[in-house]
């Protein structure tokens, strides 16, 4: 299966795969096969980390505040290149982050995910949750070089939109290609309380401080990874448009909210890629309690 995947990647004609192609400045890497997961107490932590990652709503219940699993944005349980894989993130820290203006270690980076993407409380660095996620990511990065930007890290860069991303065009794309799974109102779909298709906006989705609230990040993720089973069917413009549409809906407040939407926008969302603090259909985004 792995051989087939690699062969298929090499033969790929999709621009996504081209973006992941060999670049001497960005060494390629593949995580160890699932079957090689270690045994013993360390293996238990790795396994718990994988469970938290895949079934966050169950294994981090009470920590998180939305209905999202880590694996909803980091596909194939954090293994897939071009989908912000954990093996590439793990070797990328410690690093300085503009977001909190300090050097973060990997655990602190995970805390950021809980605070924003999971709209939750922040587990302590020595909590079982953070340590298990570190163990899982460390194992995925086994034998990966440090100090290098691994190919496949983050989401692949997307060409700028030829036309400004547009809400109405995005809505057309959403209805045609996204709502089947994510629902007409972005509410996601569930089975027995398990999130199957993640909510994209509204109270059960990531909050305004999350990376996916950036139209740019969302467009990159969407273009490289969506829809499941039909990747490559959206044009670059469609990816930008639908990202604009998704991120033009309200969602839980940014936890850094200062009491004023305008001031919070100025402090944390002063970017053409953030719709926070902008009015859409008469509603001021970010004004929900």
């Amino acid at each position: 299966m792995i051989r087939r995947t690699i062969a298929a990647l090499l033969a790929a004609q999709l621009p996504i795969a081209a973006a992941l192609a060999t670049n001497p400045a960005q060494p390629s890497f593949a995580p160890p096969p699932r079957a090689d997961m270690p045994k013993g107490p360390f293996g238990d932590a790795v396994k718990l980390g994988e469970n938290i990652f895949r079934h966050t709503t169950v294994y981090a219940h009470g920590v998180i505040g939305d209905a999202l699993n880590c694996s909803n944005c980091h596909l194939d349980a954090g293994r897939l290149a071009g989908s912000a894989p954990m093996w590439a993130a793990y070797t990328g820290y410690p690093a300085y982050r503009k977001k909190n203006r300090k050097v973060n270690n990997f655990g602190m980076r995970l805390q950021g995910c809980f605070r924003f993407s999971e709209n939750g409380r922040v587990p302590a660095l020595d909590s079982k949750t953070i340590i298990a996620l570190e163990a899982y990511s460390f194992w995925l990065a086994k034998h990966a070089p440090t100090g290098a930007h691994l190919a496949g890290r983050g989401y692949p860069r997307l060409a700028a939109a030829a036309e400004s991303p547009d809400y109405a065009r995005g809505r057309t794309v959403y209805r045609q290609d996204c709502s089947l799974c994510h629902g007409a109102r972005g509410q996601g779909q569930y089975a027995r309380g398990q999130t199957v298709f993640p909510p994209l906006w509204g109270t059960k989705s990531f909050n305004w401080g999350a990376g996916m609230g950036s139209v740019k990040n969302a467009a990159e993720f969407i273009y490289a990874n969506m829809p499941f089973g039909a990747v490559g069917t959206l044009s670059v413009q469609q990816a930008w448009d639908v990202a604009q549409y998704v991120d033009s809906h309200d969602r839980p407040q940014d936890p850094r909210f200062s009491g004023s939407v305008a001031a919070t926008r100025k402090a944390f969302h002063d970017s053409k890629f953030s719709m926070y603090g902008r009015k859409v259909n008469g509603h001021l985004l970010g004004s929900n309690k």
Partner: protein, 225 residues
């Protein structure tokens, strides 16, 4: 399955009660239209299908999904001589009545996977084969729900369906004899599966309970912080 029913299927049930038959037979099961006697000869009186003959269970499937399949047989998007002859004479009202009936039939609850699991099938179902030349194969569970119990009105339950039925459908998606899938999701995926993979993943889902009382690994407080 006695879980939250999608609004659209509730709506279908309500419309049926108003338009076709004012009677329901209790426990929330919609009244059986006259065609059901014929359906039952293959799909079972309880709507749970026939495992050895490979006839799928219909009980508890979403009404809009069943309706769409009847239309697909009629229009040749799904090719099956028997089902085509059954679906041909049905009008929209009859399709809705049949669908509403099966959607409300209870699915017997059984604890957990009952048969031997196979690792290749389980890996495909739970993990998929992401990336690759076309679109990659997402985990089947990522659309059909945990342990294949089905999601919403467009992603039917796979758990407990006959192995021969699942593999025949995957093969039909693969070779293009079954069409009409939204966004071509199933044909894209099935084209990337080998015959061995189809066989393995079909056996895996066939071995699962259609209405499990527990979802293994998904216990509510499995990972306290």
């Amino acid at each position: 399955m006695r879980m939250r029913r999608p609004r659209s299927s509730r709506f279908a049930v309500i419309s049926m009660a108003l338009l076709v038959s004012p009677i329901s037979i209790g426990n929330g099961v919609a009244a059986a239209p006259p065609q059901i006697a014929t359906c039952a000869s293959c799909h079972g009186v309880n709507g749970m299908g026939n495992l050895s003959a490979g006839f799928p269970a219909l009980a508890g499937l979403p009404a809009p999904y069943i309706e769409r399949q009847l239309t697909a047989f009629k229009h040749g998007e799904r090719k099956n001589a028997v089902m085509q002859s059954m679906a041909n004479p049905l009008d929209a009202k009859a399709r809705a009545a049949i669908a509403a009936y099966y959607a409300t039939l209870p699915v017997p609850a059984t604890p957990e996977p009952t048969k031997k699991l196979n690792t290749q099938g389980e890996a495909l179902a739970m993990n998929g084969v992401w990336g690759g030349k076309l679109t990659g194969v997402p985990a089947c569970d990522s659309c059909h729900g945990p342990y294949g119990i089905g999601v919403g009105v467009s992603f039917p339950r796979l758990a407990g369906q006959p192995q021969s039925y699942i593999s025949a459908q995957l093969t039909a998606w693969k070779n293009g004899s079954r069409t009409g899938d939204p966004l071509h999701l199933m044909s894209n995926v099935a084209r990337q599966l080998s015959a061995a993979e189809i066989s393995a993943v079909s056996a895996f889902y066939a071995s699962l309970s259609p209405n499990p009382t527990t979802l293994p690994g998904l216990v509510p407080d499995g990972g306290k912080q």
